[in-house]
Amino acid sequence: MEALSGAQPIPLVALVGNPNCGKTALFNVLTGSRQKVANYAGVTVERKEGALLTPSGSRVRILDLPGAYSLDPLTPDEQVTADVLLGRRAGETAPDFVVCVTDATNLRQNLRLVLSLKRLGLPMVVALNMTDIARRKGIVIDAERLARELGVAVVETVGVKASGAKRLIEMLDSAAIPARAAGKFEWHTPSTADIAQDQAEVRRILTAVGADRIDGVTFSDQLDAVVLHPVAGPLILAAILFLVFQAVFAWAQLPMDAIKTGVDALAGWLGHAMPESLLKGLLVNGVLAGVGSVFVFLPQIIILFFFILMLEESGYLPRAAFLLDRLMGSVGLSGRAFIPLLSSFACAIPGVMATRTIQNPRDRLATIMIAPLMTCSARLPVYALIIGAFIPQRTLWGGLQLQGIVLFALYLVGVASAMAVAYVLKRAGAKARLQTLMLELPVYHWPNLRNLAIGLWQRVEIFLSRVGTIILALMVILWALSSFPTPPPGATGPAIQYSIAGHLGSWLAVIFKPIGFNWQISIALVPGLAAREVAVGALGTVYALSVTGENVSGALTPLIAHSWSLPTALSLLAWYVFAPQCLSTLATVKRETNSWRYPIIMAAYLFALAYLGSFITFRVATALSSLG
């Protein structure tokens, strides 16, 4: 370790600003790829810190505080910002210096926060951001005059240009950031009258600097006339959502297949190259299968977040929330819940990660909780197997296929139960208080490629380093459960039957008897926890089929059609609509909610629903078939 005692502590500079002021873009310019994304302790608010190396070679830590309209917090984001600035957030050092980022085209709104911060007495500079856009709009702000009127230094910045923060960097360099004044900062919540007084001051300053101007109908307005139109708006939204859904569902297929093929090939090669041993089992069926099941989600996550970041950066996402607010609100969800839920049809993991765009923590939690009820693509192999074996290929009137209708019904049951659960969550929550919306619809922007790339990389990194490690660990544990103890010499049944998973399965068979599952199904459900589609392969193992891979399903179909009753099959279908047969999803929920509480609640309620659903299905189907 270097001797740190003699060195100056690295100064901490906080970026503060209203939401949508281009703060994060400026943060990206200041810190480039030297960023660390984590969560603030105890909350799910994202904490972004980066390092700036100034031209003179000194280091500055830059903290990108969450967007805030005021220092009197109403959202968790604002709570964090206020607490950090006031030096009362545990585990966070108060910043030495504040850069208050303002949108030059929206000073009328942004300057009130500047006045509040000034009152707080922290050393600060105002970054007059987006001056390029302002200039294009014909707004020329006299920065020197603004600095004089505010009594605070002002620098012009352009957050979307690599060189746009030059003057700000020079300032952070030369400022020789003063040591933070000791003592706590006092803050008194202003009354509405105080805010009105601030606004009068803002108006005076705006007049003085020649920026007191309100545009009539802007380009954004013209776009909004179409995008928010009662008829055209929903049509455009539907088209965009369809594109996103298509992309996540279909475009990801090729790279996902490539990853699967690659991992399979590697496993096959290892299988031949290595002698039969425990290590080989661990490597091939534990580690490699685990790594594979982590990487296989990447294409969907990248594609989904590419679209989400595009929609967010351009300013469309809040408009989509506007259009869907009433519809989703009827079951107690936010309009922003739509994209996470839609992508959960492909896979709940990117869906749960996408709930970060929902600011209200209660709405976000409700969305996370119901995301697994959207029928994900991993259920399809299981559905296809059972439907193929039990539902006759019959064409009903209108050319509709019975098998297709059953599949559609399974999707529908998932959606309907998700809505029902959301409704119950809303009722169970705090007294039916009127939920506020107050959602800003920012001016439209072209997405900036650099910000897009940085944002995308951060999602990938979070997924691989935090979710991926949990998934990998769980896969290895599951492999161990299915492999140990090894079958005794002379054993006749399949190896899995003698393992811990096998024993678990035979205990489960007792529990699952009332819903019609035999012991083969019960055992297959244990390794099937890894991922839903694994259950198909596991059934193949339990029935000691000699075929592997793609052919398992084909070989299983006549076998189960013969040995299971129709009520059992229907019961298993119902089970898969609800059951949280996916540890990866639970691992993601753990990461995203920062606690074990919610994944445990989720698993419990989904298992309960699954058991109930299967029980009812089995009993009703049994009764009906005895009638017929």
Binding site: Y69, S70, D72, L74, T105, N106, L107, R108, Q109, R112, S191, T192, I195, A196, Q199, R203, I214, D215, S220, D221, D224, A225, L228, H229, P230, V231, G233, P234, P318, A321, F322, L323, D325, R326, L327, R433, L434, Q435, T436, L437, M438, L439, E440, L441, P442, V443
Partner: protein, 85 residues
């Protein structure tokens, strides 16, 4: 008149913000003020939702916010005398 009664596209100015009674109302009033809904500010309804005309998108000063009807109903406005559009 209430902001909710203002015709889409008509320029107006905020007269006052009068939240309904209750503790939450005080906070609602302050929040609206913090977003810029303050007496004298220019205001205009940009768009309305499809179902039940909710939410409504409102231009306040140079910013735009989507509000629920109960939020917008707290805001009293006075239409500007503009040349007939």
């Amino acid at each position: 008149m209430k902001l909710t009664d203002l015709k889409t596209g008509t320029q107006a100015r905020v007269v006052s913000v009068v939240p309904a009674e209750g503790v939450a109302a005080l906070e609602l009033g302050r929040r609206l003020a913090e977003l810029g809904f303050l007496p004298g500010e220019a205001v205009r309804v940009v768009a309305r939702g499809l179902l039940a005309r909710e939410p409504i998108a409102v231009r306040i000063g140079t910013g735009t916010f989507a509000l629920r009807l109960f939020e917008a109903a707290c805001i009293r406005v006075c239409p500007e005398q503009t040349p007939a559009a």
